[in-house]
């Protein structure tokens, strides 16, 4: 595979992982976690991050076996040509399911802020941005993220801490919520999002040769976990664990109630700007992974020609949801079954590689 377009270093990898996990999930995490685990929602996030660690270590193990291949290349070597292509096609379909994020993204802009606007322009704009990001390649995304993400995290953390103090932190009691089984269920759902690091099977082959890529991945998961935990606690503090499950856009509703003294109020604009940047970069990254895989399947020399059609396809897919409720329904189903899927994609390839003793021949 000679599709490399730029390299990323391990700090950029960390940033990308954080971005990948936090990107879209930041907006809805308090709702889903409180729905499954009650007042112990934040524990669900912590448990879920274990899912990210599992998927992450599988991804890294695969990467160490095949340092210069992405998922397509590996599965072709390991599973044989046609089975490998099929496996990659499945992975491509999995990345297409992220079209739902585009839809969530536009709904989040439309409902609270542009109540009178149709969905079209927002989708077209996001398509333009994500295509541009994907054209520019993973290195550009990584560099942009490296500039923005620390700023975002630094400005969001104080807000989240204040959101906890604006509410009643006691709402998070009892700290085991609906019980260990419920927390495990919440963890499974959060794990689905943390499991999105599976996309890095495509991206890791762009990594500069370093030894501690697993550490970079782990830090990325950790940095994503902290704001997610905080916003879950903040949401439950402000709205109660039952109230937070009824919010369409928990992060925005939380931002609306944050008060610093009596002077700083109505901070949701900050939230939406930060989230816009995060979300766009994330969608761009998923699109890159998706088109690289597709290009691999069709054995194209470069993935650029596929960017626009794939972006268009995902936009059209995102329009398949009739109502906001169908989006919610899909996301719920999607997150319940995604963790096993994200374990399977690298897991099966790794298992077969170990059984068949396949390994990249060092040049």
């Amino acid at each position: 595979m000679t599709m490399h377009k730029g390299y990323i270093d391990k700090h950029q990898l960390t940033v990308l992982v954080t971005l990948m996990i936090m990107g879209s999930y930041f907006l809805v995490v308090p709702r889903t976690m409180a729905y499954f685990a009650g007042s112990a929602g934040w524990l669900g996030v912590v448990v879920g991050s274990l899912g990210g660690v599992i998927v992450g270590s599988l991804v890294v193990a695969l990467h160490r076996r095949f340092p210069s291949h992405d998922l397509m290349g590996m599965s072709e070597v390991v599973l044989g040509k046609w089975l490998g292509k099929l496996w990659s096609l499945l992975f491509f379909l999995y990345t297409l399911a992220f079209a739902v994020i585009t839809r969530e993204f536009s709904t989040t802009i439309l409902t609270p802020f542009l109540a009178d606007s149709p969905i079209g322009p927002v989708l077209v704009i996001s398509m333009i941005i994500m295509s541009y990001l994907a054209y520019s390649g993973i290195e550009s995304i990584a560099r942009t993220a490296q500039v923005f993400l620390p700023l975002i995290v630094l400005s969001i953390l104080p807000l989240l801490v204040i959101s906890i103090s604006s509410g009643d932190i006691g709402q998070n009691l009892p700290w085991l919520g609906k019980g260990p089984a419920a927390i495990a269920m919440a963890g499974l759902n959060a794990g689905a999002v943390f499991g999105e690091v599976v996309v890095f099977t495509v991206i890791l082959s762009h990594l500069r040769r370093t030894t501690d890529d697993i550490a970079a991945l782990g830090w990325g998961i950790f940095f994503a976990m902290v704001p997610l935990v905080l916003i879950t606690i903040g949401g439950v503090s402000l709205y109660g664990h039952e109230g937070v499950t009824t919010l369409s856009f928990p992060a925005i509703s939380i931002a609306r109630r944050i008060k610093i003294g009596i002077y700083f109020e109505r901070l949701e604009a900050i939230f939406i700007i930060l989230w816009f940047v995060l979300s766009m970069l994330k969608i761009g990254m998923v699109l890159v992974a998706s088109v690289i895989t597709l290009a691999g399947i069709f054995e194209l020399k470069t993935y650029q020609p596929l960017v626009l059609p794939t972006a268009l396809l995902s936009i059209l897919l995102s329009l398949q949801f009739e109502t906001d409720y169908s989006v919610l329904e899909f996301v719920d189903k999607f997150t319940t079954y995604t963790l096993p899927t994200s374990i399977l994609f690298p897991g099966v390839v790794l298992l077969v590689a170990i059984i068949r003793g396949k390994r990249e021949v060092p040049q």
Partner: protein, 410 residues
């Protein structure tokens, strides 16, 4: 070629962002928007709801000072606001009715207060709560108030120090915690109140009757009475689920807030040996303990201990040296007073109102979720009166003020 494509694409991107993201599609000009600063909901005379809105006229507020008084009738100058009401089956119908009359687009996002009339509150807030939360214009930090007076009257009160009735209302709310005779309630608090085990207590606003100055000359009385000059935020409406079931007065709110563990700043007047003392609460702490009764879940016990750190504010006897003995006597008396207040309130909440305004259910949910709360959750309102609540108060008078013994005139 590639360079060209990239340049072309980025130019396209910038142009489309610049034109589309500015929100020009659904544009809302400031000058074409009517910002509602306070609104009220009452029962309509022949329809379900009556929505009253107060919209300030931006040009007229500046410099209008106290001239902007009154309801508009009779005054030579128009008030610097537009007050209107409309009736409808739903709030949206009322809103539509108002929109027909307004030359500007009506916006609720800056409403400082939402006043709900008792008539609606007694019937249940359920139909309103949804609109408050579904509509993106409504803010979760809008203050909610309940009243028994006509809402138009409240929104017309011209307080001399404020230019607008709504600004007056908002500032009244802001300083409510200085006197601890009322509580705070925001739209977003409906979420917490919707959980079992914690009922809503919404502050009450009323028109202050006594501050109306007497008419200057006799023949003025024949004319219309001058509009009232002041409002009063005191006490609160108590809800059971979404229905109002009663009222609490200022002193009861003081007891309630102490039991809830919120900060109160209340002067306490105590009479010992014929001398009136006033002590002022500076800080208060609450310790609360749940002792679950597993054989009879509803009969669980809750022990509350409230400690007040107070300062001596006033002694109505000159020449009296304040010693620890005196302070002790005052403190003991004050403890008795506050405890009685609390016990009475608890009795009232249990038997008269049957509403868990203290959030004891919520406390049980936090402390003993599995053994008790899960069993009583469904019928908590029935179980709540069986709860055994014991109150203990401790008053500590720390600071004496600027004098140990005030001058005495013989």
């Amino acid at each position: 070629m590639k360079r060209l494509v990239r340049t072309f694409l980025s130019v396209c991107l910038f142009i489309s962002l610049a034109t589309l993201l500015t929100g020009c599609y659904g544009r809302n000009e400031m000058e074409e928007t009517a910002f509602v600063t306070a609104f009220g909901i009452d029962k309509g005379s022949d329809k379900e709801f009556k929505l009253t809105i107060l919209v300030p006229a931006p040009g007229k507020i500046a410099g209008s000072g106290s001239a902007g008084g009154g309801g508009g009738e009779g005054g030579s100058e128009n008030p610097p606001y537009w007050l209107a009401s409309a009736e409808g089956r739903t709030l949206w119908e009322c809103f539509q009715e108002l929109s027909k009359r307004s030359s500007r687009r009506i916006q609720f996002a800056h409403a400082a207060a939402a006043i709900i009339h008792e008539n609606v509150a007694r019937q249940g807030l359920e139909p309103l709560i949804d609109t408050f939360h579904r509509n993106a214009q409504m803010r979760p930090d809008t203050n909610v108030l309940v009243t028994t007076e006509p809402i138009e009257d409240i929104l017309q009160v011209a307080f001399p120090l404020e230019s607008l009735p709504s600004a007056y209302l908002a500032r009244l709310q802001l300083f409510a915690h200085k006197h601890s005779q009322t509580t705070e309630y925001e739209v977003g608090d409906f979420y917490a109140s919707s959980q079992a085990g914690q009922e809503a207590v919404i502050p009450r606003v009323s028109i202050c009757k006594e501050s109306t100055p007497p008419a200057r000359s006799e023949h003025d009385e024949e004319k219309e009475k001058p509009p009232p000059k002041a409002l009063l935020i005191e006490g609160a409406a108590v809800f059971r689920q979404d229905r109002q079931v009663g009222w609490l007065d200022g002193q009861e709110i003081f007891a309630l807030e102490s039991i809830r563990g919120r900060q109160v700043r209340n002067p306490l007047s105590v009479e010992v040996d014929g001398i009136a003392y006033t002590i002022v609460i500076r800080e208060n702490y609450r310790k609360i303990k749940v002792i679950p009764n597993l054989s009879n879940l509803g009969n669980s016990e809750i022990q509350i201990k409230v400690r007040y750190e107070t300062d001596l504010g006033e002694v109505q006897r000159g020449g009296l040296t304040i010693t620890n003995e005196v302070l002790n006597k005052v403190a003991v008396k004050a403890e008795e007073q506050v405890s009685t207040l609390m016990r009475n309130l608890i009795q009232k909440a249990k038997y008269e109102l049957a509403s868990d305004i203290f959030g004891f259910g919520e406390l049980i949910r936090r402390k003993v979720p599995d053994r008790v709360w899960r069993q009583v959750k469904g019928h908590w309102n029935k179980e709540f009166p069986n709860l055994i609540v014991s109150v203990d108060t401790e008053v500590i008078i720390r600071r004496l003020g600027m004098t140990v013994r005030s001058p005495y005139i013989e």
